[in-house]
Symmetry: C2
Subunit: 127 residues, 2 copies
């Protein structure tokens, strides 16, 4: 197991943009970033390079720019991050996490309904 180092928080922010775009140059990531984020071009470049070094993205030249594309499925990476969080905050119990989300945080009527639907759909499939 190669034990990819986990992506840092800022890196994740960048990675998600690449995922959404399917692949992107530094410039494209920059532009996709929220206006108020105020990151330097070079900084974004650095994060992309780090993500590549960690094995989350691969890059190939296209014209004068590098295009970065995903190496790992988003769901997988998110899963890894969530695992760590679950361990370090909720004893690895998904239910504890749900408890926090449902109780300590105010869910709107809508969110509750949607969550129920998620569950219903789950059980529909699993037969």
């Amino acid at each position: 197991m190669s034990k990819r180092p986990a992506p840092a928080k800022s890196e994740l922010e960048i990675a998600r943009i690449v995922w959404k775009l399917g692949g992107a140059t530094v410039r494209q990531v920059m532009d996709a970033l929220p206006e108020d984020r105020g990151l330097d071009f070079k900084t974004v470049q650095t994060y992309l390079r780090r993500l590549e070094a960690k094995g989350y993205l691969k890059t190939h030249r296209e014209g004068r720019s590098n295009v970065y594309r995903p190496m790992v499925r988003p769901g997988k990476v998110i899963g890894e991050v969530m695992d760590e969080l679950l361990k370090s905050l909720f004893d690895g119990q998904v239910l504890s996490l749900f408890q926090h989300l449902v109780n300590d945080r105010g869910l709107s009527e809508l969110e509750v309904r949607q969550l129920r639907e998620l569950l219903d759909r789950l059980e529909g499939e699993s037969r």
Copy 2:
């Protein structure tokens, strides 16, 4: 707004023990730590001191030891951490998080049932 620096991951692990015990000395935290965690006494001490510096715990002398106790409700801290995670991984949409949890991660029958109960209880209360 004082802007408490967020607790680091290892710090959280320690903080949770203090929360569970209601208050604890370095030694007590050590003992409460999983056997295989292999942290040095001094290291735990350091983390506790950092948590104090960050305003999550306060300490007072009791005999030859310092007793650390919570300054902030666990739910509050967890909430802050979750907020960050939600922002950096799910666009701040709780539902996206739920989606990941329910779909991408295999929930057991039991967990699904328990989650449903959480939701039912919620609606029961809110009248």
